[in-house]
Symmetry: C2
Subunit: 431 residues, 2 copies
């Protein structure tokens, strides 16, 4: 590793002279003193430049260093209680790598489209920086959670051979002399994988060609999908609840600095402890009717419905036991009432929408064949999937958690396009 | 979590009665005793069924239980030194979930295409099971390595807007009313991300439409790509070496059981310690000439050359300082000789080929512009990438490690299609 200090570690060097390498975030001048807000991608630090502590050439950099110029700063770490980090640097020397051209993103307000056009630069700003850190923490927290519970990571394929679920939201790709489709979920493959490895998860990009411009949709998003042999719907909900609680704890514990930068009201997150409320679809419908929504039994819920239901609770709420027609063919019918399936959606608080969708899966090949027929799906496309029920079928369940929506909830970010480094939507494919 | 024991934990229950849930891997009969090799995706365990220890109905299951039937086995854990795990189960009861139809994969040899057509079932066999466990270990080991060194995970996009590098091996996708291309590497995006986050890595699927049927190629493969601000080519090689050493250590430490199942000669892996040999392209060329290969200066190496060079060493070998024409436009020219670029390939031992490709990146916008012009690339497509050099350009470097090739090396698997759960090649898109 090259020999220089990352800014996040300056508390360990209090009173000592160190060298930092990074960029000029901002400069404030005041006569015989100037202040350089330095960032290196691990922390933002105030550097103090005093006329009698540096060479004249360095002191005059106050007029030549532009925003985002790259520099090496050598100086002494001093305690500075009024600084967010508690420390600042008394500068001894500055070496310049590159003086930046006039930077397009000033430290003021810009329109979101302008910022998204400059996403490759906007990531350097405090807000996007903090969101990316929280996202990365959630990704590792997810992996740690499942790794600690005997899950094996089994990557699902991105290319799938046919439009198995007959969806209009599939992306089609030229695949040599034929066509392939991009995956929307790894679930069907995970159902095969757990018969080999018991508990598995996949965690990768998923694709949906949704002609939607809402703040909740991306064409490319990341989903973590655990799948478990010998789990029923209740085990599934227990795991989902434990998982989400663990994510919140981890972000509160490890992302204090980022939540501070984002001015996130952490009280809203601190209350997220098990148990979470569990209501049936029918109970959710009652809430909606009480609140004046006109939804008939059997209809799916939209974003306004989800928000209205979530407002009744200060924790994520699990809605389960859905009308069969609202859900996918592979969900297990409720043995007590065939009109329902053992599916569950988890709705985040504060209007952040559905973050989890899951179910117990149908393990009976005859029931599955009837559903494939009723829904006019191609049986041939599902032969390999049906094999799972031919050779040692077992009860099993799983769910998928959307990473961007969860990141948005943690960060208090309204639009999930800010929760992925390089957002892709119906109207955005760049940079 | 449901209340039953995973087979990997049976040593903790020695002498106690437990219930396992899983599948019949094999049955051997011998008069008043029969043996059931049980698997649950966490371990393979021998279960002993004695006539006078179980009901008649359970004893007669020797004739009705088929390979891959799903069962719950209750019994007492006993020490059994001759068993691979050191334990076996003295069966008290068996409950049957599902009697499997006649299983297409017998415990004998099948052709590779037949097995790949049944990949969803083949994963249940010991070999593929063990390879998947090693792959998952390598993935988490990679993340742990970079997380511990202040890297932030920044996922690169899968959809890219243009065929920037002009490659004929891009997959083209219909993207609403235009075209998109699937990513071949996250590097260019990571180069932007490190200016925001200092050290980043991405780890996701990459796509190459290579019309190649060799055992080293997949159309969809996973790559981990670290990128580091303020690293030069030597720092880059130091990190690559430390990374690969750590992967080998981790697999040797945590995958003993899997390497045993795969009959891997672990002595070959135990010697993989730093430093690794570093030779220049010119030195590699000398080796090839000495061994009778006709390669002219400036030519790239193919698989036979890589193998020939790797045979000279019992560790991975790094070949660096390549002729510029063999490498991509973004690699930094060697300041001491413009004919070379500061790129590096790491070749695995035992003929497993290139596992790492990396370089110091060109940080000078003028040099980069000349290369874009010389190589007839579209400058417009690269404007955002050039911005990285306009606003605080810094020295930086990175590399990419191919997960499947590395898994193949660890497992001693010759064909990388066996090192990904759901292989996709020019001729294979199913299951």
């Amino acid at each position: 590793m090259p020999k220089y200090i990352l800014a996040k570690y300056i508390p360990e060097y209090s009173g000592r002279e160190i060298t930092l390498k990074g960029w000029v975030y901002n400069i404030r001048k005041s006569g015989k003193i100037w202040f350089l807000i330095f960032r290196d991608g691990t922390e933002f630090v105030q550097c103090v430049v005093l006329k009698n502590e540096v060479s004249e050439a360095v002191f005059e950099m106050k007029s030549t260093l532009t925003q985002e110029s790259s520099i090496a700063v050598t100086g002494v770490v001093q305690e500075a209680p009024r600084q967010e980090t508690g420390y600042e640097i008394l500068v001894k020397n500055i070496e310049v790598y590159h003086v930046a051209e006039e930077y397009p993103i000033a430290l003021k307000e810009h329109g979101i489209e302008f910022l998204m056009d400059h996403r490759h630069l906007w990531l350097r700003s405090r807000g996007p920086y903090a969101v990316m850190k929280v996202r990365a923490e959630l990704e590792q927290a997810s992996r740690d959670f499942f790794n600690a519970r005997d899950f094996t990571l089994v990557d699902s394929p991105m290319f799938t051979p046919n439009a198995a679920e007959g969806s209009t939201t599939l992306f089609e790709t030229k695949y040599f002399d034929r066509k392939a489709y991009l995956t929307q979920s790894g679930q069907l493959y995970s159902e095969a994988a757990i018969m080999a490895l018991n508990r598995t998860y996949c965690f990768g990009p998923c694709f949906r060609a949704e002609k939607s411009k809402t703040r909740r949709h991306l064409t490319e998003f990341w989903m973590v999908e655990p799948e478990m042999a010998f789990f029923d719907i209740h085990d599934d909900m227990d795991l989902a609840e434990e998982f989400v609680e663990s994510l919140v704890k981890r972000v509160l514990g490890n992302c204090k600095r980022e939540l501070q930068m984002l001015e996130r009201d952490t009280a809203k997150l601190e209350g997220i402890t098990r148990p979470f409320p569990r209501i049936t679809y029918d109970e959710a419908l009652e809430i909606l009717h009480r609140k004046g929504f006109e939804v008939e039994w059997g209809e799916d819920f939209g974003a306004p419905h989800e928000t209205a239901i979530s407002e009744e609770f200060d924790k994520p709420v699990m809605i389960w036991r859905w009308p069969a027609a609202t859900k996918a063919f592979y969900m297990k019918r409720d043995p007590e009432d065939e009109r329902y399936v053992l599916g569950v959606d988890m709705i985040a608080p504060e209007g952040h929408g559905e973050i989890i969708g899951g179910s117990q899966r149908e393990e009976d090949i005859d029931v599955l064949l009837r559903r494939i027929e009723t829904e006019a799906l191609s049986r041939e496309d599902f032969e390999w999937f049906l094999d799972i029920r031919r050779y040692g079928s077992v009860p099993h369940a799983g769910f998928g958690l959307g990473l961007e929506r969860t990141t948005g909830w943690m960060c208090g970010t309204r639009h999930i396009r800010e929760c992925i480094p390089w957002p892709r939507t119906m109207v955005r494919l760049k940079p």
